[in-house]
Symmetry: C2
Subunit: 321 residues, 2 copies
């Protein structure tokens, strides 16, 4: 479960001093996830930069004493045990609050601190599946697809960082900390956005529809002669520019496509027309043309492409340390 | 571009008073995105709860005067124009800071305020593609898949909320606001997590691998007799429990599968074995068995399933207003 480590890494990036508590025997499970360089897990490294680590056995009196001393000095405790575990150790929020009333106690779990599912274990893929995001991802008629990054953990980590910072903001007014209860599944439900509205409006259960957008058209991937790219026209003005860019200016006034609602209804037809239009040139050529018309577009980059991208390098998103 | 609206909706949920500024002619483009109920866009509604709205023409003297008055009183300005647009209106951060030195000015754009790509337009799918997430999502050998929710916008909105709250935290110490510069593409790179480490460790460009996890095995979807489910064993103890749950206790000691690294190398073989094992019972039966063994598991829910889920209802994630 990387939601906790992702959240605390974000806080460390922002300047917080983060002390990670691990078991003395084998430490965080993530230390055993590959790939490895010189025996060190890069998976672990990708989640724990800028952190200190303390090994302690919270079940022992000595370990618990050290932990309690840290809590007395801390602004925030982040934990991602199954609900009830910290209480069993005598370290639940009601106990810790007595020691430090300014403490923000942030608990992240698969389904939250409250019943009926609070006792269930979870990992990223469990909440991606149960929260509905997988059912919306993938090709039409195909298998539901897991998002290829751990979006179940990552969104929970981001929401937890927001909640912790909001609790610290509140503490400036009240002088008191509070309990933050993050459920990974809640966070997946919170990012379903327009899928809930679509279901309510039509009664049709939203499904995976490939790479197009359910409500905005065109907003999709297309294949150029040599490679894939994406193109998005979020309003009628951009639609007009796109028609010009691909040499089909008459299409702007085509009654099937004259506004976003009609284009979305006719998305399949329009997809065929666009894919046919794009096959005649290479991707680089298309990107140059679309850019000249100021139409939002971009290549479908691999991780290798991303790591060599001029903007990614200029923004110092990758730093060797 | 919904990153800005998503961020401010989050801040409104936390209690902020949010005043949305729209053009007097047609308002936010999102008002034109379906589905519609009684002419109102549910897409727009899903992003703008709890907000007030003011229509003003920032290009007119009157509109600009109202905006400036709001800025003098505000803690935070959030904008998601293309970089340079606010400066052209005379409303860039350097101008606004003079009026209110405590102002946090948060700008969200496709690629950030700095060159070389700062001038390029973007929408969700553009940064999903350019940031690498699409290349990691989908079935092996298939087309790269767009994540079925607007994860390019949503992660940017979440990072922006974190950054704004961190800037407010800093203001308690310094008395000064600051510029927050969010690039949607940066946010996609920031969530690539272990994909970057895998590429660095092996030189192999990470690809879409279907529903399994690149570093943890088993951690995947399987098909029961009637429907799909997901199952995840993040450590050797859970692996042992899973072997028992599916009636294959001898597999725990199988030398091919004895630790996570070996299981990940043998993921294809293991996937076949698991899929075969799971076809003999219905999903509900498997979920009950796996739960009895405390193995993380769950159904692949549709949006309709999510909206009827007992935990989602108990947590009041869906509220009729």
């Amino acid at each position: 479960m990387l939601a906790g480590p992702f959240c605390t890494m974000l806080l460390a990036d922002l300047g917080a001093r983060v002390i990670k508590v691990e078991t003395p025997w084998c430490g965080d499970d993530a230390r055993l996830y590959g790939p490895f360089i010189s025996g060190e897990s890069l998976y672990f490294a990708s989640l724990n930069r800028n952190k200190e680590s303390l090994a302690m056995d919270l079940k022992s009196e000595a370990g618990s004493r050290v932990f309690v001393r840290l809590v007395e000095l801390a602004d925030v405790v982040v934990e991602n045990f199954r609900p009830g575990t910290m209480a069993k150790l005598g370290l639940g929020y009601p106990s810790l609050r007595v020691l430090n009333q300014r403490l923000v106690y942030a608990a992240c779990s698969g389904f939250g601190q409250t019943r009926p599912y609070s006792h269930k274990p979870a990992y990223d893929i469990i909440v991606q599946a149960m929260g509905g995001v997988m059912s919306l991802t993938g090709q039409p008629g195909g298998e539901p697809a897991r998002v290829g990054v751990s979006i179940g953990d990552i969104t929970a980590g981001l929401y937890m960082a927001v909640a912790i910072l909001a609790a610290l903001q509140s503490r400036h007014q009240t002088g008191l900390g509070q309990l933050v209860d993050i459920s990974m599944m809640d966070c997946q439900v919170a990012i379903l956005e327009n899928a809930i509205g679509r279901f309510q409006a039509t009664g049709d259960v939203p499904k995976a529809i490939g790479n197009r957008h359910p409500s905005i058209t065109p907003f999709t991937s297309v294949r150029a002669k040599d490679a894939g790219l994406v193109v998005a026209a979020g309003n009628d003005a951009l639609w007009g520019k796109l028609c010009q860019a691909i040499g089909r200016p008459e299409m702007e006034k085509d009654t099937r496509f004259v506004n976003n609602e009609l284009r979305t209804r006719a998305a399949d037809d329009l997809g065929l027309i666009l894919n046919e239009a794009f096959t005649v040139r290479d991707r680089a050529e298309w990107l140059a043309i679309l850019e000249a018309y100021d139409v939002p577009c971009g290549p479908i980059n691999t991780v290798a492409d991303v790591m060599a991208d001029p903007q990614v390098l200029a923004r110092e998103m990758l730093v060797e340390i």
